[in-house]
């Protein structure tokens, strides 16, 4: 086999393989463009088959077969023109002219005896070459309007067409200059191989090539995307993404609908440089009934329109003809010049964020590439919208922290301001009481002044309780820690609170030292003991026990008071909870004391609980970790 024969064999194999690939694709997705491509290479394969059979049988093809082969060859430019017409405008006169030229050529081929006169053959070659050149140039122009994979594929098709034209041009030259026929034939065969390769790359690019073509596009998109989450709001990000998607696909319009989980609708905005969704508020007043149009927004239910379908079914949707695939909304699509729709769900993991929709006035030629790109862009959009959501969340946390700080500042200064007059009130009343006693003023005066003292104390307790409750709520109760002996705390409280009416008994083997906030631990012990005294009957003994149990410091305070009903026990440590059997007139307080006690115990990494039976008294238990290492969280060490 000569090199030239081998060259031809490879070229023919390429074309036949390409036909198989595009035919399978057309059968799988019978889009107009796919069918036209299959037709084009079907004709090529037929020409090759005829040539192959006649060569194999070593016969001179009968005139009718030769004429058919020639007609098929001349049909190629017409089929290319048809393909071009699928996604770009081809002047109608040109289509008609090409068809007429093909018809006339066919008649002449079948009617005239072979060989044809040279001038006629050259005329036919010219017809072929001019049309194919036109197609090649048109593809180059269309490539300029698109980007990424589609652009590269169009360029490949343009090159393929150019080489196809050259193939026949070389044949024409061989006819015109027979003395150099060998060279021209060689050129023709080479151009044929080149056109086959280019067409293969254009119409059936291997995956690695697509990835390579996609890479710069993705790189550019990611480069822009990196700063997107910093834009002032989600809407601004969506507008940028829409513009990016439209330009990446060379489509006139792209729009993003965001999923509103609460309302269960997809929301599209009307603002921005790209008219979103292609639906204007006033364009279809009758649509307002079927599609919720509100302010600058357009709402879709999942499943409504092709965008809603893509979202509801969580898959990319392509329609080369929206009015055909979604006939219920024909009027809406037509009113906005929408022919092709590409839609892909924007989903981050399990979180459905929305849908990306690209609208075009014409069906794209490489729908598979475009759909893949839309899917990719939707995934990128999901990443960007998710990072935006994270940024928003972080800002909210910061704002909450700031609000908490302001509240704390406010409470601290409010408490300070309340305590200043209280100091005077309490001090002055107590001074009056001393003066009254010393000067032996009437008992009536003394009782009145004592009441002043009591109320001032009560107000003072309330201020402290409110401030502590607010800190408990925020987990900021515990401050600086240092070694604290629980036994000493209990002894001090016992000595301070014990009286003849309420004896206090301390049971402890020795010091039990842990790393605690000394002020708060004393407050905890005092509070439990004060409660025990408050609710104990006359002469009722209060018993305090301190001991060590494993890695925990333990403290219990037992009284013989009115006890706590079982119903109240679970809510005992809640805010503003007071027992049902507590007489409000006898026992003052807001019901914050035990809530604060629980806060102190828990913020030290410990816990507090109570055992009780009505009429038999109550025992409060506290368990605190001895070592700081056991504490999950807490203040400064």
């Amino acid at each position: 086999m000569s090199a030239d024969d081998f060259l031809q064999l490879v070229t023919q194999a390429l074309y036949v393989m390409l036909f198989v690939v595009v035919a399978v694709r057309a059968a799988h997705r019978p889009l107009r463009a796919n069918v036209d491509v299959a037709l084009l290479f079907g004709v090529c394969s037929l020409i090759i088959a005829i040539g192959g059979i006649t060569t194999a049988l070593r016969i001179t093809p009968p005139p009718a077969l030769a004429a058919a082969s020639g007609t098929l060859l001349l049909a190629l430019p017409y089929l290319l023109l048809r393909l071009l017409d699928d996604f770009a405008d081809v002047a109608p006169w040109l289509m008609r002219g090409a068809a007429a030229g093909l018809a006339v050529s066919a008649v002449l081929l079948f009617a005239l005896p072979t060989p044809l006169p040279d001038w006629l053959a050259l005329l036919m070659v010219a017809y072929f070459v001019v049309l194919v050149a036109y197609v090649a140039i048109a593809f180059v122009r269309q490539a300029g309007y698109s980007s990424g994979v589609t652009r590269s594929r169009m360029q490949a098709v343009a090159w393929g067409s150019g080489f196809l034209g050259l193939t026949l041009l070389a044949v024409g030259f061989a006819l015109a200059w027979p003395d150099r026929a060998d060279a021209w034939t060689m050129l023709s065969h080479l151009a044929g191989l080149a056109s086959g390769l280019c067409y293969f790359v254009g119409f059936a690019p291997p995956t690695w090539l697509r990835r390579a073509w996609q890479e710069p596009e993705l790189r550019a998109f990611l480069g822009r995307a990196a700063r997107l989450p910093r834009l002032p709001d989600t809407d601004a990000i969506c507008r940028e993404l829409e513009q990016g998607a439209a330009s990446a696909l060379g489509a006139p319009r792209a729009t993003i609908g965001l999923w509103d989980e609460a309302a269960r609708v997809l929301r599209f905005q009307y603002t921005g440089a790209v008219a979103p969704a292609g639906f204007s508020v006033d364009a279809r007043p009758e649509a307002a009934g079927r599609y919720a149009v509100r302010g600058g927004e357009f709402e879709l239910q999942p499943g409504q329109l092709l965008a809603g379908v893509a979202f509801a079914e969580q898959r990319a949707v392509f329609s080369e003809n929206a009015t055909r695939d979604d006939p219920a909304n024909t009027a809406l699509y037509e009113a906005h010049g929408v022919v092709a729709v590409l839609a892909a769900p924007i989903t981050a993991g399990e979180r459905r964020l929305g849908v990306l929709v690209v609208y075009a006035a014409r069906a794209p030629i490489f729908a598979d590439s475009d759909l893949e790109l839309v899917r990719l862009l939707a995934d990128q959009a999901a990443v960007i919208l998710e990072s935006r959501a994270l940024i928003d969340e972080a800002a909210q946390v910061r704002a909450r922290e700031e609000a908490t700080r302001l509240k704390d500042d406010f409470l601290s200064s409010a408490a300070h301001d309340l305590r200043t007059p209280l100091t005077t009130l309490l001090g002055q009343a107590q001074l009056l009481a001393r003066q009254a006693r010393r000067d032996a003023l009437g008992p009536a005066y003394t009782a009145g002044i004592e009441r002043l003292v009591r109320e001032a104390r009560r107000l003072s307790t309330l201020v402290t309780e409110l401030l502590d409750a607010s800190r408990t709520e925020r987990g900021q109760l515990v401050g600086r820690r240092e070694p604290v002996d629980l036994t000493t705390c209990a002894r001090e409280a016992c000595e301070r609170l014990a009286s003849e009416r309420h004896p206090c008994q301390l049971v402890a083997d020795g010091p039990v030292v842990g790393d605690y906030d000394p002020v708060r631990i004393q407050q905890l012990v005092d509070n439990l003991m004060e409660n025990a005294v408050k609710y104990s009957p006359e002469g009722g003994e209060v018993q305090v026990r301190v001991w060590q149990e494993g890695a925990a410091a333990r403290l219990s305070v037992a009284d013989h008071g009115i006890g706590i009903p079982a119903d109240d026990l679970p809510r005992l440590f809640d805010r503003y909870h007071r027992g049902a059997n507590v007489d409000d007139r006898r026992f003052s307080g807001m019901g914050l004391g035990l809530y604060i006690c629980r806060g102190i115990a828990e913020q030290h990494g410990g816990r507090i609980w109570a055992e009780s039976a009505p009429g038999q008294g109550t025992t409060f238990h506290v368990a605190l970790p001895l070592a700081l290492a056991l504490v999950a969280e807490g203040g400064a060490a």
Partner: protein, 122 residues
């Protein structure tokens, strides 16, 4: 030489007056000042034996007063009086001998003065 008076420093006039009345009633000599700067002058003029010191004051606050006192080499027990939560910590910061968290009990005030102050005169 009779012991120096108790110097009460507070920018709130009613607290100042109330504390002065209490101490006076119990027989202690008393001096008052409305801010840290006035208190420094009073220290120089009256040579007090104890200072009851509010911390947040205009002109010169409690910290400034304590610092100036130390700079002049004056050895003098101080008791911090404050309505803030940090009474105990602030007392530690300026090396005070004690603290009174407002609102304090009259008996607390008298106990502190009895422990650190001059003998009352009848």
């Amino acid at each position: 030489m009779s012991p120096g008076p108790i110097l009460v420093v507070d920018d709130d006039p009613s607290i100042l007056d109330m504390v002065a009345q209490v101490l006076d009633f119990e027989g202690y000599p008393v001096q008052t000042a409305a801010d840290g700067a006035a208190a420094l002058d009073a220290v120089a003029a009256a040579r007090p034996s104890l200072v009851l010191l509010d911390m947040r004051m205009p002109v010169l606050d409690g910290w400034g007063f304590a610092q100036a006192l130390r700079a002049r080499g004056v050895q003098l027990p101080i008791v911090v009086m404050t309505a803030a939560q940090d009474a105990r910590r602030w007392a530690k910061e300026i090396g005070a001998a004690g603290y009174l968290a407002k609102p304090f009990e009259l008996l607390e005030l008298l106990a502190v003065v009895e422990r650190l102050g001059p003998r009352p005169s009848a």
